[in-house]
Each structure stands twice: as C-alpha cells, then as structure tokens.
C-alpha cells in the first residue's frame, strides 16, 4: 500500500463506522474539492451507491459554477441530494453586505441547524482537514456537538485506537471527519489518481485561480498559473500562501474561526 492507499483505506473505515453506528447520517457536500473527494470515498465505501443523502447548505450566494457542477454530478452519480437554505434570514435580507460573522452564522450555521432538525440526522460526514486551519488541527475524527450546536473544544472526548464516540446523547449530533489526516496536496494527488471531477474554478485563468471556494461574494482568487491538476500539485510544493488566504471569514478578526467553529460553523 502506498500512502494514498493508506489514507483512502482509513477514510473508508471511518465512513463505514459512522454509517454502522448512526444510520441516520448525511454527507455535507459543499461541492468543493474536499467534500467531493469525501463523496467519492463514500461511493467506494458502499460499492457505488450511497445509502444516505448528500446535504448542500445553500447560502444562495455561491458561484454559478457550483450549482451547475452540483446538479450535473448529483444526477450522474445517483445521489439523493438535499438542498437547504435559511429562507427566513434570506427573506429578511441577510447577505454578505451585512456583518460577515453574522452572515456565515445565519446562512450556514443556522441553515444547517434547521436541516439537522428537519431530517433528524444523528451524525454528519464533513470533509474538513487538519492542515486547513490551526483550529481545525485540534479536531477529533468523531466530534460531538451539543444541543446548542456548540463545540466544547476544551473538553473533547479521548480518541484512541480507532475507538470513537458511537452514541449521541439527546439532541447532540456527531460530526465525523474522515479526511482529517489528509493535506491539500494529498487531496489533489488523489483527485489526479482517481480522476475525480472538480469545479473549473480551481484551475488558473488569466493568472488567477481559487484555492478554496465558497460564496462568490467572500472568496478571492490567488495568483497562479496552474491550469492543470499536475501544475497545482507542483505549485503546492513551493507555495508560501495559505490555502484559505482568499476566504474572508477567516480573517475578519483574530480567532474568528475559533468563534465560528465553537458556534457550530463547518
């Protein structure tokens, strides 16, 4: 087994474990490269057919390419796609022109809360990785979120020898992170090896590309000439720019990611 095989095998083990323990689960699909890789791994874990839905939390401010990609591949892969929005907040005019922390909170976190309540999910599969952000480096593979959706990062359950928290209590839900050990480079190598489709926004056009995508209003491209997967992998070997440098919500204020995550942000 090479290193990518090891990563793949561990992730498949975690996905199968989450499904076995909780049954009422969904994969949170942001349509970005990481959650698309996670979706691919779910397909592999269940021999082609996902036994649970993919949930897209739509802020309605996403890039048009995201919607196009989502609908095309959800159909091709036979995915049970659930799209959820915080309609109340949108009707009241919430958007990125308001406070960014509040906008993320309303259109992502609140929307997710409602979706979990509506569909009664006990656990969610998320494609976050430790190398994305310092605060994500402290995550567990199976991480409980309490009734108010908060992450008690100061008192996380111990996790050893692949024994995970396998019962949620009351209104708790468990976030499962099968890609936690992967790096940005691993993800791209795997996309290359498996020939996984990704959104065109990741590839350079006129000297710019997106390294991380979300809402159109809050994402900036980075300078890059990498217009193929191979060139992206080469670029990542030497870059000094952080992956999420184009993401506005990471830098509004100090510790904003910690605050967002402790309040339930993905």
């Amino acid at each position: 087994m090479d290193y990518l095989d090891e990563l793949e095998s561990r992730s498949i083990y975690l996905i199968r474990e989450a499904y076995k323990q909780f049954k009422d689960i969904a994969i949170l699909w942001s349509i970005g490269k990481d959650s698309t890789v996670l979706l691919w791994l779910c397909k592999k874990a269940f021999f082609g057919k996902l036994p649970f839905p993919a949930l897209h939390i739509d802020t309605s401010y996403k890039f048009p390419e995201i919607y196009e990609f989502r609908d095309k591949w959800a159909e091709k892969w036979g995915i049970n796609l659930l799209v959820e929005r915080n309609k109340d907040a949108l009707e009241k005019g919430m958007g990125p022109h308001k406070d960014k922390l509040e906008c993320c909170g309303q259109l992502k976190t609140e929307a997710l809360k409602k979706a979990i309540g509506k569909h009664n999910f006990k656990a969610l599969l998320l494609g976050i990785r430790r190398d994305e952000h310092g605060i994500r480096s402290k995550e567990r593979f199976f991480s409980p979120r309490n009734r108010e959706f908060q992450w008690d990062y100061k008192d996380q359950p111990p996790e050893l020898w692949d024994q995970f928290k396998n019962k949620q209590e009351g209104e708790q839900h468990i976030r499962v992170h099968p890609l936690l050990d992967w790096t940005e480079q691993d993800v791209w190598r795997y996309i290359q090896r498996e020939n996984i489709p990704v959104i065109c926004l990741y590839f350079a056009k006129v000297g710019k590309r997106f390294r991380s995508i979300g809402c159109k209003t809050c994402c900036n491209p980075v300078d890059s000439k990498a217009d193929t997967i191979a060139k992206i992998i080469e670029e990542l070997k030497t870059t000094k720019v952080a992956e999420r440098s184009g993401r506005a919500q990471d830098k509004e204020r100090a510790y904003i990611m910690q605050k967002l995550r402790s309040l339930g942000y993905m």
Partner: protein, 421 residues
C-alpha cells in the same frame, strides 16, 4: 511519493513542546508568510516577543495563558519524508488529550527542561508511550541556554531519564541538547554546544523507522458490517494484521465457523483477489453463515484466544473512578461487550510507577491499574505484544472513553479462560 511518519512531542508542562515545533517549522521555512504575519500581530497585541509556540497553540485561551490545551497535528517535510507532528499538552489536566495525540504516533520526542529536570509529567508521558507501544523515542533536553549550555547538567538529566526509561523498557535512540527558543541544535549544529558531537533534531527525525510488520503477523480481520450488494452478502472490515487471498480457509471467531474466501470486493477493482494489513475491503464466502459485527476472521493455524476473562494494564482518564464490581462497556477492534470489574489487583501512580495499593476498590483519574475483567460474552483477544490490534481495548463510562488498556500475559492460565476453540 515520499513516505509519511507521525511523531508526537511529549513532556512536562512548559518544557517547550509547542516552541520546539514552532521553531522546527520556522527554521525549515515550512510556514506560510501569512501565518508568520498573523503570529507576529497576535504577539504584538499581547505585548510578547515572537512566540514560536503559537504555530501550534491556536486557541485564544492557549495563547493568552501560554499553555497547550488540546492536541494538534501539523505537517512538515524533509528531503527524505513527510512528517505529521503531533503536539501533546503537558498540563496534567489535559492528559487524556495527550493520550489521544500519542495513540496516533509511531515515534516520539520526549522533551525535558534543562533547568527543571525530569518532572512528574515527564515520567507519566514516558510511561504512557510505553503503554501505547511506542518504542521509538528520542530525548531532547531543552532550554540549554538557561544552564549556560552545561555539559554536566546535560549528563545529569540524561542519566536520570535513561534510568527511568529502562524500567519501562524504552531505550532512547538519541539524547540531544537543544534550545528551541534560541534555535540551537534544531536544524543545524550549535556553536554554543561544541562538546556535543551528535546529530540535531531535524537529522534525528530521519533516523526514525516507519512502523510496519502488521503484514507479518497472523491474519485478523474484525467484521465491521455486512452489506447487501445486489444479490451478494458482503462482509466488510479492515485487515488489521496479516494477509489473505481468495481460496484461503478461514475461521470466524468466537463462533468457530469455518469457510473459504470466495471473493475480495473493492469498488471498481474487479481483479482484486488479495489484501494486506491496513486495507478496508469486502469479502464473500463459499458458505452462507451467520455474519455479525464483532466477529474476528482468522486462520486456523494461528488463532487468538477466545475468553470471557482477561487481565489488562489500564490507564484511567476520567474524573469518575472505575469501581470494583461495576459493569462497564469494553471495546476492542469492532467487538463490544459489557464487562464486570472483577478485581483491581494493583493500583499504581502513573508518574512514579509505585504500587499504591494491592486489591483496590477503585482506580482514580490518571492512575494505572492491573485490572481483571469478566465479559458477558466471549471475546477474541491477543497478547498486545503479538497482535496489537486485538491486544488493546478501551473502557467506556457515561458514553465516553474513560480508560485505555493493553492485554499482557494472556496465556497465563489463571486469567486465560477456555483458550482457543
């Protein structure tokens, strides 16, 4: 593609674990510019000098109080390989976070403050490394700048820690004098420590070996789940040790069902007919038997033990004590069973390894015990030193992991139960 190794940094609180990692990243140019700027800004706002520990300590509370609360992992490479560096908190309150971090590592650096010397958490962390089966250890004696780079002080601490490690069967491959704060002996030779002719931290990392060998152990595949794929019933799970291939005669324990492997199932890989330790696969068999999660697939000539009674060395990490006579949940690989605590034959202080009590009534937070359990149903177990995957277990209390243990002396008849079927 380069190989990957996971390393944990352990030691007493404030001995400089996070600083060492920050320095290693900084001096090897492994940090994005933005990260350096972000750290500088936060340091300025807190009125501090450049604080290398902030590379790892990311929580607001961690930065303001200058301690690590939770374990964190980060990535870095040398010419030879990619490393995952796991930072473990040194504070006694966060020992369970240290165990979480260390349980994922293959090698460790034990850090000791040259001024303070070997302390309680130094010894406790070292003991935990032993419990987790981590034998590849480098000792780094940090803050040499505070003792004027004294060779005598270095040798004093070296002797003390080597003696302690010997008691728990760990032989450190290197003992290195460093100053993480000043960057001495981290990625280059130090002109201030001329009396030391050995290698630096960066070079020492590359001397660790990648763990392997699970393939060479006997076959163990704990059943994870059973899927119905079209008209086939597929048993899924991960090969924890050994190898298998189509046509192999195998046994399901504890039921003792015998059958032959008909196919190895991996999505979009029709020609797959073999698997090795580490692979998550599906299997079909020539006989339709009763398959269930928790069964262990083995081969007849190298069987584990099937028993209801077992003894483990248990590290307890919950504020609620483990009590003699109570029922707890035990998990080992995919097995789960309710167990009665029959006996706490020894209760030990995990930092001194002194036996505090024999035949105790309870095991308290951060204590180590030799505990005898009796399970409701038959368990399939191995000696930890032979097949680690089936020789380690966790105990749950209040739905959370509260203890981690390893099984030793399984063949001891007093505890052995019925033996292999």
């Amino acid at each position: 593609m380069k190989e990957n190794l996971k390393i944990v940094i352990v030691g007493h609180i404030d001995h400089g674990k996070s600083t060492l990692i920050g320095r290693l990243f900084f001096d090897t140019g492994s940090l994005p510019e933005e990260k350096i700027n972000e750290i500088k800004q936060v340091c300025d706002s807190l009125g501090k000098e450049m604080e290398f520990a902030f590379v790892m300590d990311h929580l607001e509370e961690e930065r303001e109080q200058g301690i690590t609360i939770d374990t964190a992992q980060t990535f870095f490479s040398t010419e030879k390989r990619n490393y995952t560096i796991i930072d473990a908190p040194g504070h006694i309150e966060f020992t369970k976070n240290m165990i979480t971090g260390a349980s994922q590592a293959e090698a460790a650096i034990l850090l000791i403050d040259a001024e303070e010397g070997v302390k309680e958490q130094t010894r406790r962390h070292a003991y935990i490394l032993g419990l987790l089966g981590l034998k590849q250890v480098i000792v780094a004696i940090n803050k040499m700048d505070l003792v004027d780079y004294s060779k005598e002080r270095f040798n004093e601490i070296k002797k003390e820690i080597e003696e302690f490690l010997e008691e728990i069967n760990i032989v450190p491959s290197q003992v290195i004098p460093i100053s993480a704060k000043e960057g001495e002996c981290i990625v280059r030779k130090s002109p201030k420590i001329k009396w030391y002719g050995g290698i630096n931290i960066l070079e020492a990392l590359d001397t660790f070996k990648i763990k392997g060998g699970a393939e060479m152990q006997s076959l163990r595949l704990p059943v994870q789940d059973i899927y119905k794929i079209k008209d086939k019933r597929v048993v899924v799970g991960r090969v924890e040790s050994g190898t298998l291939e189509v046509g192999n005669q195998i046994v399901f324990l504890p039921n003792n069902f015998k059958t032959t492997i008909k196919s190895v199932e991996v999505f979009m890989n029709e020609n797959k007919n073999k698997a090795v330790a580490g692979e998550s696969i599906g299997l079909t068999f020539n006989n339709q038997l009763f398959f269930d999660r928790g069964q262990i697939i083995c081969i007849e000539k190298a069987m584990p033990k099937v028993t209801k009674k077992f003894k483990g060395n248990l590290f307890w990490m919950s504020n609620t004590s483990l009590k003699k006579g109570e029922a707890v949940k035990m998990k080992c690989a995919t097995q789960e069973s309710s167990c009665i605590v029959k006996e706490i034959s020894k209760r030990m202080d995990s930092s001194t390894l002194q036996v505090v009590e024999t035949n105790a009534d309870e095991l308290k937070n951060r204590e180590v015990g030799e505990v005898v359990f009796e399970s409701d149903k038959e368990l399939v177990l191995d000696d930890f030193n032979k097949v680690p995957a089936l020789g380690r277990f966790v105990i749950e209390k209040n739905l959370d992991t509260a203890g981690g243990g390893i099984i030793v002396n399984l063949d001891d008849d007093a505890f052995g139960g019925s033996g292999a079927v």
